[in-house]
């Protein structure tokens, strides 16, 4: 069957008899959890959307330490949140198979950085598997569980966008019912990492890593593949880069021996030594950081091998952004002094084409919030933003984001900004992000007497990653016994004294409430609550909303509706503004935005 890399991972986990699976959604990892959520009840597994990646990892640790198999999946930056748990879990080790999937995002297609999470495997002393295709995603997930139990260590399965979001043929097997419950056998000298235990467990980890290296040497996941015959040149590679190497070598018509590392950490030293010794020149081809390259060079130095090793240190391949076949082909040409013209001349000038950046949807409540905030502050405020659809407010006409680093950073940075700036500070955070990482910042702001306005943009879902539920949702995967957690109660519980809830579609009230909030001392909070327009449309709740049109006889062509407000349904061509009825979501915000009352409900 044709499966997405992420779906293949979910399938592999089911066939491995996983008992507990958790995630916090994040592109490009989200479909692993979404696939498991759909089948959890039928498959008899427990799956949950956790509040954040740290909690997701801890749930999986609790299950795996008891002796059942557990899977936790997240995007690359999610591992930063989970890292505190993960680093020490490597010390205690696991009883049941524990697999952490990290989906990295070279080129930052939908992320705030392109960090290379293979470093986490090195940092924590955690075995690492890297699939190159959907079939390998499926197979390596199963292998990862076996490996984890054999070594009693957590295992990291690392994909990238071009692995997770590639759909290809996968031959699958039978779904197995694994052990679903297991009594936790107490062993505090292993599982309670007080310093005395931690010191002893570090030595255990190092011993297990030596065993892991032995398994890596023997693993069929690390193998030499010959492209053509009689190659004198070799390439060491892994993950998506392997695919580009294979296609580029074929396109160049050059025989190449490829050492493909599906189990690159711990590095199979003997295999690398043999490969280096049997080739005159070896290129290391990997996306992002020169991790394999540095290790391979270290091995060569240690063994006094003279084979010429080329890679990022020689500038043949870039250290930023994802590769493609052309980039790798040009790298191989330079690495081996090959003949081959791989550079295509630009056939079209893309510079002058109108850009189509991601935008907030028609009817998006965030649009209404940003319009109201700009009106209330006359744009004289500093905006601390956060991770979600609402980050798109950074663009014109709202310019409603001045500082953003990570999940939850809006609240924390707002406190710092307010301490050293005279302009009022407004933090924007989504409902799901608030639960994920906003709460400690809010408590800190209240406790330490910071002065800022926090706007919780509550669209009742985790929209950007595909509408997953979050702790305030009243539904969730059918295997979960869901209780909705009230955002208001949490905010009050954090000690906030001034709290208002507004409907962002009501521009006047929202604007006045923002003005009032900015007159308060300390931390004030506004919850702007309106369901995501796409959910409203899907559930046909939008049927009660009326489509709008512009009365061209009343319209003064002042362009307020396109210059101060942004809606994909409203366009301006030949100085005439019109609403595309097919795109209009019927929110009616534009009618409140228009200073001349030219926008009315369609009759």
């Amino acid at each position: 069957m044709l499966l997405l890399g992420n779906e293949a991972i979910a399938r592999g986990a089911l066939e491995a008899g996983v008992a507990v699976a958790t995630t916090y959604p994040g592109t490009p990892a989200s479909e692993i959890g979404d696939a498991l959520a759909r089948v959890a009840k039928d498959a008899g597994i427990y799956f949950e959307y956790s509040a954040n990646e740290m909690v997701a990892t801890e749930i999986a640790i609790g299950a795996a330490a008891s002796g059942v198999r557990a899977l936790v999946s997240m995007k690359h930056v999610g591992v930063n949140v989970a890292a505190d748990a993960l680093m020490t879990f490597a010390y205690t080790g696991t009883r049941g198979g524990f697999v952490l999937v990290t989906a990295d995002d070279p080129s930052c297609h939908s992320s705030q950085n392109e960090q290379d999470n293979r470093y986490y495997a090195l940092l924590g002393g955690i075995p690492l598997l890297e699939p190159s295709s959907p079939q390998e995603c499926y197979e390596m997930t199963k292998e990862a569980f076996e490996l984890s139990e054999r070594l009693e260590l957590p295992v990291i399965l690392r994909t990238t966008t071009r692995i997770s979001h590639v759909r290809g043929p996968v031959v699958v097997g039978r779904i197995v019912q694994g052990l679903k419950r297991k009594e936790f056998i107490k062993d505090p000298k292993r599982f309670v990492t007080v310093p005395a235990v931690a010191r002893a467990r570090h030595l255990v980890l190092l011993e297990r890593l030596r065993e892991a290296e032995r398994l890596s040497e023997e693993s069929h996941l690390n193998k030499v593949q010959r492209i053509g015959t009689g190659a004198r040149i070799g390439v060491i590679t892994s993950s998506a880069a392997f695919n580009y190497v294979a296609d580029a070598a074929k396109a160049l018509g050059v025989p190449v021996d490829v050492l493909k590392l599906g189990f690159p950490h711990p590095l199979p030293n003997r295999l690398v030594i043999d490969f280096l010794r049997s080739h005159d020149r070896v290129a290391v081809v990997e996306e992002l950081e020169p991790i394999l390259e540095t290790s391979v060079r270290a091995v060569a130095q240690h063994e006094s091998i003279n084979t010429k090793i080329v890679g990022k240190a020689d500038g043949i391949l870039p250290r930023a952004y994802e590769f493609d076949q052309a980039i790798v082909a040009s790298g191989l040409v330079r690495a081996f002094g090959l003949r081959g013209d791989v550079a295509k001349e630009a056939v079209i000038d893309l510079q002058n084409l109108p850009v189509r950046p991601p935008v907030l949807c028609a009817g998006c409540p965030h649009s209404a919030v940003y319009f109201a905030v700009n009106k209330a502050t006359n744009r004289k405020a500093i905006f601390a933003s956060d991770i979600g659809c609402y980050t798109l407010g950074v663009a014109a006409p709202y310019n409603a984001a001045d500082l953003l680093v990570c999940m939850g950073s809006s609240v924390g940075t707002a406190g710092g900004l307010a301490k050293v700036n005279d302009l009022p500070v407004i933090a924007f955070i989504g409902d799901s992000t608030f639960f994920h990482a906003g709460i400690p910042g809010l408590i800190n702001g209240v406790h330490n007497g910071h002065k800022f306005l926090l706007m919780i943009l509550d669209n009742r879902t985790t929209a950007m990653t595909g509408h997953q539920p979050h702790p305030a949702s009243d539904t969730g995967p059918s295997c979960c016994n869901i209780t909705s957690v009230s955002i208001e109660e949490v905010v009050k519980g954090c000690g906030v004294r001034w709290l208002r809830v507004v409907d962002p579609y009501d521009i006047k009230t929202t604007t006045e409430t923002v003005k009032e909030a900015l007159r308060q001392e300390g931390v004030s909070v506004i919850i702007a609550r309106r369901e995501c327009a796409l959910i409203a449309e899907r559930d046909e709740k939008g049927a009660i909303l009326k489509k709008h049109e512009i009365d061209q006889e009343v319209c003064k062509k002042c362009r307020t509706c396109v210059e101060k407000f942004q809606c994909p349904a409203i366009s301006s061509t030949n100085k005439v503004q019109t609403i595309d009825e097919a795109l209009c979501a019927g929110c009616g915000v534009c009618a409140q935005v228009c200073p001349h009352k030219a926008i009315k409900e369609t009759r």
Binding site: G168, A246, D247, I348, R356, P358, S571
Partner: protein
């Protein structure tokens, strides 16, 4: 072997169309790899999908290497031409979705004639198709993406048989099957008729 590049705007059903192509390839006994790039937006941003049919391992199509470009939107057709060469066939829906940058930055949206001139300068064949109209004639206005799949199939470039596409549509969109097959047929005829001339 065929490298097919699908482009358009989020919300047009491009990913579904690429899945139909992928399943048709599997039904036809071919290896296939699909990829999708859709960035941050749920709706309204540029969407790019690739379908590589045949003996390939990497999913992305290098610049200048697409055999067929299937564009769901007029402006995105121009943006896709970086993947075209002298042998490329370009099928484009004549649908226009004006990006906000045209309104806010006062940039110019290209005319259909400008797109035609540019495509014919670079590529081999240009097939403009009123996919929305054909979908409405098939009584499923939502299925212009299936009209486009039909147009892709009609060129014969994929090397796959019509019945494999039809079965793939059934697998991916079981609802409104007769109407979707009608939409597919209308797209198919649009290019197969031209292909023969």
């Amino acid at each position: 072997m065929a490298d097919i590049y699908l482009v358009g705007v989020g919300g047009q059903g491009i990913i579904t169309a690429s899945r139909v192509v992928g399943d048709a390839a599997i039904l036809g006994g071919e290896n296939v790899l699909l990829s999708e790039t859709h960035g941050m937006a749920q709706r309204g941003g540029s969407v790019v999908c690739t379908a590589r049919i045949g003996d390939v391992q990497s999913p992305l199509i290098p610049d200048g290497c697409a055999d067929l470009i299937l564009s769901f939107e007029l402006l995105e057709t121009l943006r896709s031409l970086c993947k075209a060469n002298r042998g490329t066939v370009v099928i484009t829906s004549t649908e226009k979705i004006v990006p906000l940058s045209v309104s806010t930055q006062k940039l110019k949206y290209p005319t259909a004639e400008e797109v035609k001139i540019e495509v014919e300068r670079i590529a081999k064949r240009f097939f403009p198709i009123d996919a929305r109209k054909l979908a409405e004639e098939a009584a499923v206005p939502m299925s212009s993406n299936i009209v486009m799949v039909g147009a892709l199939a009609g060129t014969g470039i994929s090397g796959l048989e019509r019945r494999h596409f039809e079965k793939a549509i059934e697998m991916n969109i079981p609802r409104w099957l007769p109407e979707n097959l009608d939409a597919f047929a209308r797209g198919f005829e649009a290019t197969s008729r031209w292909s023969q001339t």
